[in-house]
């Protein structure tokens, strides 16, 4: 628990063939890592669309991690190349919208890399903690209620 009480809310999209099993291995090996990430099992990291990531941020996530098989290991041959293809363009778009670099992270975690999974989640949690809360939905206040300032006289 940090001093200011901010606990990052993280979403992790984990490929079911590699990274989700890596997470399982971290669990069965009783490795310790922060509980901030909510894992979502996807069939492939290539299934994770930019829409999913934007929805996560719009609905209150502070950071999103996408984890898939190492290049060359994809169960569907080239799904993770699709992921890698989307990532730079999406990162650029999100930065244009004012999200700091580093709110989205792409990692390759195999089923044997429980230790890497635990390390990545730990690092990412601390990085997002340092960036602070995102609070995307909080910027939409009811502007109709804004009161016009006092009248100016010539």
């Amino acid at each position: 628990m940090s001093d200011n009480g901010f606990e990052p809310r993280l979403i992790g999209f984990l490929c079911r063939w590699c990274s989700y099993n890596g997470a399982d291995l971290a669990g069965t090996a009783r490795l310790k890592y922060p509980p901030n990430m909510v894992p979502i099992k996807t069939n492939c990291s290539g299934r994770v669309e930019p829409t999913h990531i934007m929805k996560a941020f719009a609905d209150g996530a502070d950071g999103v991690i996408i984890a898939g098989c190492h290049p060359g290991d994809c169960h569907y041959i080239n799904g993770n190349y699709r992921t890698a293809g989307r990532y730079p363009l999406m990162e650029k778009l999100l930065e244009q919208l004012g999200l700091e670099h580093g709110r989205v992270r792409l990692e390759w975690v195999s089923a044997a890399e429980g230790d890497k999974f635990a390390r990545v989640v730990g690092e990412f949690t601390e990085e997002i903690r340092a960036l602070g809360p995102l609070g995307w939905s909080e910027q939409f206040k009811d502007e109709a209620a804004a009161v016009a300032p006092e009248a100016v006289t010539a």
Partner: protein, 323 residues
């Protein structure tokens, strides 16, 4: 039989939708036969007070174009919602924010600073800004309050139908008016509430007559940088064409004359976020195996938000840039 009541209003818009309505040509006479215009600032002299005096539900159909970006737009949206039986979000701005929705990349203050002090051609040494309220000997004057975030009509009031396009195509407007008039006469039925009307199923590519092959591109180009092939898919030639992520209905008129689709008809049915979908599409056709090369190609898209959300930023999942 008395005529039905018709209204059209422009909120944050350019006026192109009003012209698009006249583009139905001789059919406008049929509109006149069936409807009395009771409010249409672009074409007839009515005051807001006239509308305020109508009973609720007095207007049979109201075509509302333009986004909601200030307190006047919001007031008229609420007013016309109450007075109209059928409220149609008409055009790209009302359905998804449109071009003015790109104002969501800045705050209202940043926009005012640019317009009143920072533009090189502006001479304003005392930094005079327009005031929302101003007292003169004759009384108090006021201007609408400008919002930080541009909204769609649906983000403001309950909307019955959505008709995208910048502007909607004349044949689609004519078709929609036929359906609405028939329904008002009791000769037909209105589509289910909340429907997007004046569009075709599938995507713009479905209507585009260019030859489509396997899409693999090694870099993006803009239309002025080369002479595009007249027959081949523009996307395959490296031009960012929003066709795959855009609803059909316009007849693919832009691509037929060599202009890439800009996405004004909004996302096809089932797509939540047009820009995100287009990003996904583009990334899938980049032909490069290693991440560095992919990043290099991605960098040749100079303005992802302005390209993928040219019309849809205000209705996208994230809606605006962080200020």
């Amino acid at each position: 039989m008395s005529k039905f009541k018709f209204a059209m209003y422009w909120a944050g818009s350019c006026g192109g939708c009003e012209i698009a309505l006249l583009e139905i040509q001789a059919k406008i006479i049929e509109v006149d036969q069936n409807y009395d215009v009771v409010f249409w600032p672009a074409a007839a002299d009515f005051k807001y007070k006239d509308v305020e005096g109508y009973d609720d539900g007095y207007i049979d159909v109201c075509l509302f174009n333009g986004c909601i970006r200030n307190s006047e737009n919001e007031h008229l949206a609420n007013l016309l919602r109450a007075k109209s039986k059928v409220l149609v979000a008409f055009g790209a701005c009302a359905t998804m924010g449109g071009i003015p929705g790109l104002a969501n990349l800045s705050s209202a203050q940043e926009i005012k600073d640019l317009v009143y002090t920072q533009t090189p051609s502006v001479d304003n040494p005392d930094k005079v800004y327009p005031q929302e309220r101003f007292t003169v000997p004759e009384g108090e004057l006021d201007l609408p309050h400008m919002y930080d975030t541009v909204k769609t009509l649906e983000q403001t009031v309950d909307v019955d139908y959505f008709m995208p396009g910048c502007p909607p195509e004349a044949h689609q407007i004519a078709g929609v008016l036929d359906v609405v008039t028939a329904a008002l006469k009791g000769e037909g039925e209105l589509p289910p509430k909340g429907a997007t009307i004046g569009v075709a199923p599938k995507s713009c590519c479905d209507e585009c007559e260019r030859v489509k092959d396997e899409k693999k591109i090694a870099g993006f180009r803009r239309i002025w940088e080369f002479f595009p092939d007249r027959e081949k898919c523009l996307l395959e030639q490296g031009v960012i064409c929003m066709g795959p992520a855009t609803a059909a209905g316009c007849g693919a008129r832009c691509t037929s004359v060599g202009m890439a689709c800009r996405g004004c008809y909004g996302p096809p049915e089932g797509v939540v976020d047009q820009g995100a979908k287009m990003l996904s599409t583009l990334a899938s056709i980049i032909d490069a195996p290693d991440p560095d090369e992919i990043a290099r190609i991605a960098a040749t898209v100079p303005d992802p938000v302005g390209t993928f959300y040219r019309f849809g930023l205000a209705s996208s999942l994230l809606r605006r840039a962080r200020v």
